[in-house]
């Protein structure tokens, strides 16, 4: 009767189990937090390194550059663009594939802000290799380096001769992920197709509209038609429009125009400065118009009027007293 077969435990045991459980829970909590902060640190460092790598890629007097960057792990890069401030900024966040969680991605690390770089890309790109395509933007003086970032394969279908030559000159199998094909059916199914004639079943359609005397090709300016809308481009902005989302493209155009505005003002001041030394330039009126147009630009559709005044300035900027 007395044996009730109950498990008898002393208080010491109960106390040890309770405190032990608390210690294990705390240990698991701190370990999980440590892993999380480790990922955060790694992702922030990767974003900083990526932005650092971009600095030497900027062009000096070259016409363009292409570069491939190989990442250690499968990585997702988030590109944000902000217009706020004197020059606006691009913000980069990086997230690596979760090595323990199968298909998932780790939480992005801290964002790295860059004011002096103009990064054109889709809002999010992912892959183990990231490709860069750098072209200077001239309006008519060099105002910025357009840094196009992509990871997907792009297939240019029957591009005009000058674009084909430029792409072939800038890129090769190692530093680009661009194919040039004569027909759309020759492109890989997974690639983003870029066509230069409307009416085709392409992901991106480029329509040229440059007909003035200053145009070397009809594609010197025009429109890029994509799923997320139409983007107007001039000159080197063609590639930026093809490879980036409308949101990033329009924001970066706004940032570049802020810089064109400041540079125009600088050249107006310079023209006054050198005229004292007998170097008259006669460009002040046109530069003032360019400054006003770039300051008030609302979206990329205004680029055509900026191109027109830029061409005018370029034609006048000749001789020993040229400004740029």
């Amino acid at each position: 009767m007395k044996n009730k077969k109950a498990l008898e435990m002393s208080f010491a045991w109960i106390f040890a189990i309770a405190v032990g459980a608390i210690i294990i829970v705390l240990a698991i909590y701190f370990a999980a937090n440590l892993v999380k902060s480790g990922y955060n640190e790694g992702n922030t460092r990767a974003a900083r390194e990526l932005v650092n790598v971009l600095d030497p890629l900027q062009t000096s007097v070259e016409d363009g550059k292409a570069q491939r960057i190989e990442l250690i792990d499968e990585t997702r890069i988030y590109n944000y663009c902000e217009k706020i401030g004197d020059f606006g900024s691009n913000k980069i966040e990086v997230s690596e594939r979760n090595r323990f969680g199968g298909e998932g991605w780790t939480r992005p690390g801290g964002d790295i802000k860059t004011e002096s770089q103009y990064l054109f890309s889709e809002n999010t790109i992912e892959g183990k290799s990231v490709y860069f395509f750098i072209k200077p933007f001239k309006s008519p003086f060099k105002a910025a380096d357009l840094m196009v970032m992509y990871s997907e394969n792009y297939c240019f279908v029957n591009p005009p001769e000058d674009i084909k030559t430029e792409l072939e000159g800038l890129t090769n199998d190692q530093n680009s992920n661009i194919d040039i094909k004569n027909n759309l059916i020759d492109c890989q199914n997974s690639s983003v197709s870029v066509c230069f004639t409307s009416g085709r079943e392409c992901d991106v359609i480029v329509e040229g509209n440059c007909n003035s005397l200053n145009c070397e090709s009809v594609y010197d300016s025009g429109t890029v038609i994509k799923d997320d809308g139409e983007l107007t481009y001039t000159g080197g902005l063609l590639y930026s429009a093809i490879f980036s989302s409308k949101e990033i493209y329009e924001c970066n155009i706004n940032r570049i125009m802020k810089r064109v505005n400041y540079l125009s003002e600088l050249y107006i001041e310079k023209s006054k400065f050198v005229s004292v030394r007998g170097c008259g330039t006669n460009l002040q009126v046109e530069l003032t118009i360019l400054s006003e147009l770039s300051k008030n630009l609302e979206d990329s559709s205004g680029l055509l009027s900026i191109k027109a005044i830029s061409d005018e300035i370029n034609d006048k900027n000749i001789g020993v007293c040229r400004l740029f």
Binding site: N52, V61, A144, K270
Partner: protein, 180 residues
């Protein structure tokens, strides 16, 4: 008999209390040990992080001089490694470029031909030797040699005058650098 039982119960209770105390001390000791290991690990990580920050900033600064020298605001007529002295003079006081370039200041010092050592102002330009942007320092740790160019005239004939100069970049020094 009752007194004996009471005494025995008291003895057992004291023994149990002692055991609980022993266990508590042991658990506290284990806890302190874990906390110490954790602290040691965190300080080690913090030290490593500081080293990495220095490395990353070093990487950035190495490319900075080349970048600044070829920036559209300073380059002279799209010539590689040439800086426009007139533009430099006009950019003095344009503080917005400090954050844009991520620098604290720029010092450009003419080296050849040798001229009287004086800071350039509107009143003495171009007969001066040093142009300073956003700083009053006379030197900075990161430097490179460049051509400092401007338009000049000789008997009414305009020409490009370029002189050998040294560009020095001052950066924020919240992290100490060791240059080897």
């Amino acid at each position: 008999m009752q007194t004996f039982l009471k005494m025995e119960h008291k003895k057992l209770s004291k023994k149990a209390q002692l055991k609980i105390q022993q266990m508590s001390f042991m658990l506290i000791a284990v806890f302190i040990l874990f906390a110490l290991v954790g602290l040691f690990y965190l300080s080690y990580k913090a030290l490593n992080l500081q080293k990495e920050v220095i490395e990353l900033r070093k990487e950035k600064t190495q490319a900075l001089v080349t970048k600044i020298a070829s920036t559209p605001e300073l380059i002279y007529e799209s010539r590689a490694n040439s800086i426009d002295a007139d533009k430099l003079m006009l950019l003095r006081g344009e503080e917005k470029y400090k954050e844009f370039w991520g620098i604290e200041g720029i010092i450009v010092q003419k080296i050849y031909p040798v001229t009287e050592n004086s800071e350039c102002r509107v009143s003495n330009y171009p007969d001066c030797s040093t142009i300073k942007l956003f700083t009053q320092s006379n030197s900075a740790p990161i430097s490179s040699f460049i051509s400092l160019c401007r338009k000049d005239s000789n008997n009414g004939r305009i020409y490009d005058k370029c002189e050998l100069a040294r560009i020095m970049i001052e950066i924020s020094d919240d992290v100490e650098f060791n240059y080897e």
